[in-house]
């Protein structure tokens, strides 16, 4: 029942006595009686208030009852309001009532019989209530239909035993290419992918209240689309919601494939690493052995056959031995470079001044000539102290080496802040380099000076680069021939990446 339990009855009669008589008959606690004495007022009240029943006197001066009824029936708001005509004669009604088919209409004849009047009024009021209820239910159904048809998911009602589709929403059109009418009455089985049919038929026989499954359907074009189904089972029917998960499944498939690829790549990488390791191991062991023989037997010849040899053969044997020795150094450098690549990078806070002071002392000790080294206060950072010490050893020893021919060798070590990173530099006033070849500085075995100018194998800066890059930083250099060089490297302030 509607929330408003009070029925509103409008009584229209030009005679106050008649109104009084009706009020006497109809008065009840759950009724509100509104009385007016002419057609105009009746229309005003009927249009402005929710009237459930109008009791209308036919014979009134001015606008008579039939005219009032005509107007009420032509108005959308009052069209369904039941009207009870009160007239003196039966015959006049028959004639006029044509065209007033809508809504309940009945007649009362004067003089009014109280019982008949009350009986007719209560029947009409009950009819009116039912009518209103029906309208409300229809509206609700209409709303649900809108809601369902607006859904992107497929919603349908299916007979559990036959799997015949009884109702389906408009999503059938967008998802499957069928108008809802085309699917209604057809069997769900006909639209399912073959491999899912048996499973669904089995599910049709079970009587669980709620269940879910995944099943694929064919579109009108014969494309397979996969759905995640949620079923509520009641009255032998499936109330089903099916969500299209084709894209989701495809994405999952792709992720799975990517993961498989990744795993394969990782395995490949591990294998390559192992191969590299055993390669460098072999290099380490096997390449050195022949050098030992070359060097050793040259020396043995020099010593044991010294008496038979002039100076020139001795000099030539020395060349052989020196080259064997150099080859040994090259192999050692190459191996330490390779080893660096496999090292794990630790992440601890580093006080660089503390780290570098002993390095400077050691390097100064080993230097052939006097060198002036200025160490500024360095910004602390996090990193691997052993590896970063190696970076400074290489940079400082380079600076000492390449400034050794300057009249007053001077080296400066400092740092500066640069946004997300801290930059460290080692600057010298030595031989410098041609900026045109700066891209070659950090390559393995790449050198910008001949061995007779400055000794070296060309691995030091390659190691520097490798360590810095492993920390997530960068290396670069500036220089000019005979005007010195500055080597910079940066470290990220917060190491977001574990490389």
């Amino acid at each position: 029942m509607p929330k408003e339990m009070i029925d509103h009855i409008l009584i229209v009669d030009d005679k106050v006595n008649n109104i009084y008589a009706l009020e006497q008959i109809l008065s009840q606690p759950d009724r509100k009686l509104i009385s007016v004495t002419n057609g105009n007022e009746a229309l005003k009240v009927a249009l402005n208030e929710n009237i459930d029943l109008i009791i209308l006197d036919v014979q009134m001066p001015g606008m008579d009852g039939f005219e009032v009824a005509q107007i009420l029936k032509s108005n959308k708001r009052t069209r369904i309001t039941p009207i009870l005509f009160v007239s003196a004669e039966l015959k006049e009604n028959k004639f006029v009532l044509k065209g007033l088919e809508e809504g309940a209409i009945d007649y009362l004849y004067k003089p009014l019989d109280p019982d008949i009047t009350e009986a007719k009024v209560s029947v009409l009021l009950q009819l009116q209530r039912q009518q209103k209820e029906l309208i409300e239910k229809n509206l609700a159904l209409e709303k649900y239909a809108l809601l369902l048809n607006n859904s992107a998911d497929l919603s349908c009602i299916i007979h559990a035993s036959s799997l015949q589709i009884e109702e389906v929403n408009n999503a059938a059109q967008t998802l499957l290419g069928y108008a809802p009418g085309e699917l209604k009455g057809s069997s769900l089985i006909d639209h399912l992918a073959e491999e899912d049919r048996e499973k669904i038929q089995q599910l049709g026989r079970q009587t669980q209240d709620m269940f879910s499954f995944e099943a694929c359907m064919y579109t009108r074009e014969g494309m397979a689309r996969c759905f995640s189904w949620n079923i509520v089972y009641k009255y032998g029917l499936w109330f089903a919601n099916a969500r299209d998960i084709t894209q989701q499944q495809k994405a999952e498939q792709e992720i799975k494939q990517l993961n498989t690829d990744l795993q394969r790549n990782v395995a490949q990488l591990e294998l390559t690493n192992k191969e590299l390791e055993s390669f460098s191991y072999s290099v380490s062991h096997d390449l050195r052995a022949p050098l030992r023989s070359i060097n050793g037997y040259s020396q043995i010849i020099q010593e044991e056959y010294a008496a038979q040899m002039g100076d020139e053969p001795k000099r030539l044997f020395n060349i052989i031995r020196n080259n064997a020795k150099k080859m040994g150094v090259l192999i050692d450098d190459l191996l330490s470079f390779a080893r660096m690549g496999r090292k794990e990078v630790a992440r601890v806070p580093i006080d660089f001044n503390k780290l570098i002071e002993p390095i400077i002392a050691e390097q100064k000790n080993g230097a052939k000539n006097e060198v002036n080294i200025t160490l500024h206060s360095l910004t602390p950072c996090t990193g691997d102290p052993v590896l970063l010490a190696q970076v400074f050893v290489n940079l400082i020893s380079n600076a000492i080496k390449y400034s050794s021919k300057a009249s007053h060798p001077a080296i400066e070590i400092g740092s500066y802040d640069k946004g997300e990173e801290i930059v460290y530099y080692v600057k010298d006033n030595g031989a410098g380099f041609d900026m045109n070849y700066k891209h070659k500085l950090f390559g393995v075995f790449q050198r910008l000076h001949s061995n007779s100018e400055f000794e070296g194998t060309g691995v030091g800066l390659a190691i520097v680069q490798r360590i810095v890059v492993k920390h997530g930083g960068r290396v670069w250099a500036e220089g000019k021939i005979d005007e010195g060089a500055t080597f910079h490297f940066s470290l990220p302030k917060i190491s977001k990446r574990q490389l």
Binding site: Y281, S284, H285, D286, L291, R292, G296, Y297, S298, I300
Partner: protein, 148 residues
């Protein structure tokens, strides 16, 4: 097979040139101790554990020092070391790894197995002479071996 004589030093080395250089370096340092050269790890296992050609023959006394190469075909130095160090009696003989490998994992593994010393063979003969001199001086003269 000839009659075995007691050797103070057992050298296990697959490279004949390297073996020759080590022997020469020993002699150059005036270390006269008798030396037995075994060609590879397999022969070392046969010798120490009296297998193969040594089967049923008494070991002619215990060596004072084993010089062991790391990388050898078939049975490598680490395996020989593992076998020797897990034998109740043989484990008392000092074993020095004389190798070209500077790899951390080799050094770690050797010490884990109980090697007495790990020495990297220098490329230069002069360096090798000095190294062998130090080894001979320490292990054959200064070190007091355990009598077995």
């Amino acid at each position: 097979m000839t009659i075995e004589t007691k050797a103070d030093i057992v050298l296990v080395e697959d490279n004949p040139d390297d073996a020759d250089l080590v022997i020469r370096a020993l002699r150059k340092n005036g270390i006269p101790n008798p030396l037995l050269h075994l060609q590879d790890g397999e022969e070392a296992i046969h010798f120490f554990f009296r297998e193969g050609p040594y089967l049923g023959r008494e070991m002619p006394g215990c060596p004072k020092l084993i010089l062991l190469d790391l990388k050898m075909p078939k049975v490598d130095g680490l395996e020989v070391l593992r076998r020797i160090k897990s034998d109740e009696r043989l484990r008392l003989i000092p074993v020095v790894l004389l190798t070209s490998s500077r790899e951390d994992k080799d050094i770690f593994e050797s010490y884990r197995l109980g090697v007495n010393s790990y020495v990297v063979k220098p490329v230069e003969f002069e360096g090798l002479i000095k190294t062998v001199q130090g080894l001979g001086l320490y292990w054959l003269l200064l070190n007091q071996p355990c009598q077995i």
